[in-house]
């Protein structure tokens, strides 16, 4: 058989193969029943099965956890209970107790409130406590526990955990000195509860995370915090206008004309803030990526 003929034949067959696979996926989308991802449920069994490849298997489960989280979050229908997230992260961290990013991820996303998130703070804490047992020197785990409590509004408990984090050996390590910002955070949380300053500190810390997911999320939330702060400022200005002229300003131009504003205020995503002419309160525009802003607890 000539080389040219053979190569053409192979190319045709491989193209067919790829086409078949794509077509099959289109027609029979794999719903990926839960059974398949978690064929082995028990960490104890899996750790043994993985033999000496724990780290590799941990990576695999980690990939699946992210996949699962992302898939569930983005899908419009289907099960939004995130039921498998904790088991997947549990398996990942059982296989590799030093898998720091998995703990952090778990802490952050498991505790995220419904309807967007799983709202499983208790499980998040359980995961982190496991990490704490494995690595008592790391300050990140008690810190993350505090973070979860903070999100749930338990500021006193959160402050205790922040303090505890500040006291771990890891926090006082030369070069890192996390205790320098953990202690003030603890104090602040104890004092003022859920204010944007504490939240900002925590999200700024998250900006240094290994995981892109977390960094992006933190950046988004910081923008929201910025918006909240800016809105507070703008509302002070509208109240000033009201004090001066009797009514709240109908448009931004009015504020600009009287010199209270240099220009139309834009939110961190570049969309103009929306002024409510009746009450003088300011909100972000509906079609801004910053919307919606967290209402009660800034975290």
């Amino acid at each position: 058989m000539g080389i040219a003929a053979g190569v053409v034949a192979i190319a045709v067959l491989l193209t067919t193969v790829v086409g078949l696979q794509m077509d099959r996926e289109r027609r029979f989308p794999q719903a990926e029943p839960a059974q398949q991802i978690l064929y082995v449920n028990s960490p104890a069994v899996l750790t043994r099965l993985a033999l000496s490849y724990d780290a590799l298997v941990a990576d695999l489960y980690w990939i699946r956890a992210i996949q699962y989280y992302g898939g569930t979050r983005l899908s419009e229908q289907g099960d939004k209970s995130y039921a498998l997230l904790f088991p997947l992260l549990d398996l990942t961290t059982s296989l590799d107790p030093n898998f720091n990013i998995a703990y952090e991820f778990g802490a952050f996303f498991l505790s995220e409130k419904k309807p967007g998130g799983p709202g499983q703070s208790a499980l998040a804490i359980k995961l982190l406590e496991k990490g704490l047992v494995a690595r008592p020197d790391r300050w990140q785990y008690p810190y993350d526990i505090g973070f979860v409590h903070y999100r749930d509004g338990n500021y006193k408990v959160a402050a205790e955990w922040f303090l505890r984090a500040a006291k771990t050996s890891g926090a006082r390590k030369e070069g890192e000195r996390a205790d320098m910002w953990l202690e003030p955070l603890a104090a602040n949380t104890l004092a003022t509860g859920g204010d944007t300053r504490s939240s900002r500190v925590m999200y700024e810390h998250l900006l240094t995370s290994e995981a892109t997911w977390l960094r992006e999320d933190a950046a988004r939330r910081l923008k929201k915090l910025d918006a909240i702060d800016r809105i507070a400022e703008l509302e002070r200005l509208t109240r000033e206008y009201e004090r001066r002229f009797g009514d709240p300003p109908p448009t931004w131009e009015h504020l600009i004309q009287v010199g209270l504003l240099p220009g139309i205020p834009l939110d961190p995503e570049g969309h103009p803030y929306v002024l409510n002419p009746w009450w003088g309160d300011v909100t972000v525009s509906d079609d801004s990526p910053v919307w919606p802003l967290p209402t009660e607890n800034p975290a």
């Binding site: 053979g6 067959l13 099959r24 996949q67």
Partner: protein, 269 residues
């Protein structure tokens, strides 16, 4: 055509009697028996566990057989130079290669059948020990004929593995290396879903594209796995099975064409 059949018959006779294969099949049969014992330990879940274990054993042992005989196919024969005498006969190289492949797939099917038989025997026995209530509660009967669909899929999957092994053997001079590559490709082919979603997990979009491309081009072995569906009596669209079978056949054809091309042109040391 006739020559190919003659080669296939000879190869079948030679490999079906191979002692190593006997051991592997015997091991699988023992595994079936052991699965019965394990089933006894977990009250109520025996049937599922035995079905799962049996299919897993067949799949795993079948994999060993496919790789073992796939390598023995060409690599061992070239290593030992038993190929010299045959090639001096009025046999064209491609007839030899195709005959070998068919003979070895035949061996594979025979071995799988033996294992499947043992499987059904154990399942039938379990069926007699279960209470009527347990039988009713089970999603599928113990000797569910649909299990044969899973076995058929395993057979197709392993035929593809054998073709991969054959392909590697045509140009690699080391039997061990060929075996290694084949197993590596098999493992990679099992993690298709992860490859597909690579782009969601890694930073660089280029890596994501590579992952996706690999997913489509490399043989997707995970798609043949219908064990869960069969054990839990979940629906199995006939179209899916047909497409998967077609996928296997076309991919095998591609590998055979490539193998023939390489085999026809290579020197034998």
């Amino acid at each position: 055509m006739r020559t190919t059949a003659l080669v296939a018959l000879h190869v079948f006779r030679d490999s079906v009697r191979d002692k190593v294969l006997y051991s592997i099949v015997a091991f699988a049969v023992v595994l079936m028996g052991v699965s019965y014992l394990i089933g006894q330990l977990t009250a109520g879940e025996d049937l599922k566990i035995i079905k799962d274990l049996g299919l897993a054993a067949m799949s795993l042992m079948g994999l060993f057989i496919a790789v073992f005989i796939g390598i023995g196919l060409i690599a061992r024969e070239i290593d030992r130079r038993s190929i010299y005498a045959v090639l001096a006969k009025p046999v064209r190289r491609h007839e030899l290669l195709l005959g070998k492949y068919l003979g070895l797939v035949g061996t594979l099917f025979v071995n799988l059948s033996v294992m499947a038989l043992a499987y059904y025997v154990v399942l039938a026995y379990i069926g007699t020990t279960l209470s009527p209530a347990a039988l009713k509660a089970a999603p599928a009967p113990p000797t569910d004929p649909r299990l044969m669909l899973a076995v058929l899929m395993i057979a197709l999957e392993l035929s593809l593995v054998t073709a991969v092994a054959l392909f590697w053997s045509t140009f690699s001079s080391s039997a061990l290396l060929s075996a290694g590559f084949t197993v590596a490709l098999y493992i990679a082919g099992q993690f298709g879903a992860d490859l597909k979603n690579f782009e969601h997990v890694v930073e660089s979009p280029a890596a994501g594209i590579v992952g996706r491309a690999l997913y489509y081009v490399l043989p997707n072995f995970a798609a043949f796995d219908i064990k869960t569906e069969v054990v839990h009596a979940l629906p199995l669209p006939a179209g899916y099975l047909a497409m998967t079978a077609l996928y296997a056949i076309v991919y095998i054809a591609a590998l055979l064409v490539a193998s023939v091309m390489i085999f026809a042109r290579r020197d034998f040391k």
